[in-house]
Symmetry: C2
Subunit: 122 residues, 2 copies
């Protein structure tokens, strides 16, 4: 755990000042990890589709599976990941489980990313 603070100088440093301030401005490891985990969750087409679909309205698992054109099992595995990262929440109604978004920010993040990718004619 305390290894985090050990700094090994492996390479030539060209500009000590810039390196020092860059290191200081970098968020803590835990925040970097939370951030990159959040992006990683959105970094898969299946999960992204699920999130975007749920941004409109809640859906049950088998309807989500139909929307993303995958097996219920595959979707359920992905929903577990989305649940773990607190991106979606669910409510049970008899046999059915209805999922919906758990976070307002995620929609904004996706919208911002859409503006970004639309600027390229790839």
């Amino acid at each position: 755990m305390s290894k985090e603070t050990i700094e090994v100088c492996r390479e030539t440093i060209i500009n000590h000042e810039k390196v020092k301030s860059a290191r200081q401005n970098l968020p803590a490891k835990s925040e970097i990890d939370n951030l990159s985990d959040t992006f990683k969750i959105l970094g898969d087409p299946t999960r992204l589709k699920i999130v975007i679909a749920l941004a409109w309205e809640e859906l049950c698992v088998c309807d989500i599976a139909t929307v993303v054109n995958l097996s219920v099992s595959a979707v359920s595995h992905q929903l577990r990941l989305l649940r773990n990262m607190r991106l979606v929440k669910f409510r049970k109604e008899g046999k059915m489980v209805y999922y919906s978004l758990d976070d307002e920010h995620i929609e904004n993040i996706i919208q911002l990313a859409q503006i970004h990718v639309r600027e390229f004619s790839r």
Copy 2:
């Protein structure tokens, strides 16, 4: 290529209307792929650190390596991915190659994600 439009009904559909509108509201496959590729790039702690460091000022490869505490080679591989996704640009100055951010939106996306992850006390 044209397989994209084929729809196979693998599972019980609970609510046809919701599934239909969810499918219609979903962005095209190419946009979903561009979006998830962008998030995937940010979904790795090393690359995220590089992007955040470059948000402050341009850095050469060996300084980036020191900042993220990795080998120059590992960093160069990641810079190639960031270059391919047009997230960073570079300029050569003699032996040195200086990298900087190529996109204004990315900083905003990261800031929004920071607001998101800071709301949890994980």
